[in-house]
Amino acid sequence: MATDALTLDNVHAFYGDSHVLQGVSLAVPQGQVLGLLGRNGVGKTTCISTVAGMVKARGGSIYLGDRRIEALGSETISRAGIGLVPQGRRVFPSLTVQENLSVARRGAKPRWTIQTVFELFPRLQERRRQLAGWLSGGEQQMLAIGRALMGNPTVLLMDEPSEGLAPLIIAEVGRTITRLRDEGMSILLVEQNIRLALELADHIVIMSAGRCVFSGGVEDVRSQPDLIETHLGVAARRPEH
């Protein structure tokens, strides 16, 4: 069996005093999208922050390919090949669009350069000299994705990339995710927009109270409406295409 791109094995993490991750285990296969779902506050963002090294794991192990990374600092984790598209985008507001990309540049013969990111998001090129703080939410999201790609990661962590965006922009972000997946990128996707998540993901993991309570294919989720209702708090609907 080929090694998964990213593996979490019984990971525990705390946020302040509260025990947020209580033994999370999941795996993102190479070149696939793993959708991580769950209600607010079940630990999805903490899970992403822990992989990125912004929250320290207090137990368990995290592997990027074969390399153990849970004890590394977030700079090193980023350099090891993890790209983070954080919740709320967190672009650097006082840097221009181009500077936001250039500070994250890495790799000798990189697939992703400022030029190729601009090809992916032509709108960023038009705004290259603008301060990122002045961009619209959708543009900031594109910039956050572009910035993560500039590190030429093997695994992309995306925390609610559709949050607060207009439907047209969500569709564009969705197409981008699919395109990156098709190019071989492995993606851990946290998403509140269940319809979008089911559309983009190859596998689904559902979290509840700091643990993974379900892991399976997208069709398994769709065929179990009560699963969605119990853990995601919405009535299941088949996504219409």
């Binding site: 912004m54 700079e75 650097f92 006082s94 500070v103 994250a104 890495r106 993560a148």
Partner: protein
Amino acid sequence: MQFWVAQTLNSLAFGGLLFLLSSGFSLIFGLMRLANLTHGALFMLGAYIGAYLMRAFPGTSLWMAALASGIAVAVFGGLLERFVLRRLAGNALGQVLLTLGIAFIISDGCLLVFGGDPIPLSTPRWLARPVFLWGFIFPAYRLAVVVLAVCAALGLHILLDRTRLGAMIRAGVDDMAMARAVGIPVSAIFTLVFCLGSAIAGAGGVLAGPILSAYPGLDGDMLPLALIVVILGGVGSITGAFVGSFIIGAIYTFGIALLPDLAYVILFLPMILVIAIRPNGLFGRMAV
């Protein structure tokens, strides 16, 4: 008329010296959220090292002394950051107490080594003569200090606003955790910025030598002014430090010349107004 012209130049020169002190202070404060109360002592240490070099090695020019002293103080600052201050990351009170304590130690160390008498640093000979312009007499060295401060400001501006390293520093000021998460070597940049700020302070102390002399208490005289400049101009802003330095330089110089009894009132009043009305400073963009 000559009084006003002379005081204006004095205030500009003093503003230039203040900028050399406060620019580094502001950068360090902005990036590392660290009020480095050692900064005034680094300025004084720079002045004393310059004085020592010029005395011990006759023929050493003021510029050579400033360069050597800047490097020495940069090394000292870098070691201080790397091996002492880093252990206190996130502990603001600890950092304040520690940097203040180190300032006292430097201060007493200088007193022990160099004695209590002021040591003037000699002005470079070609700048020692006054310059006559439009019928007024200008001390050439003070003009040179203003020019040097403007050059330093331009250099810092180019470094921060036109280079990738500068963008990384600003990214760290904007969002340190995110900067780390995109792979920016924030820790190395901290040390670098601390060295840079220390170097400018150390060299600035030497350049201040011909005007202020190296004397015990120089640190305590300068540090509050740098604090006011940074509060006025906004933390982490070079433009703010530049404008603030010349404003405070003017207020201080004219305040002492015209209303010596009220010099500190005139100095601290605008600071209080700025804090009350624009808590982030004139050019600041972040809350402290």
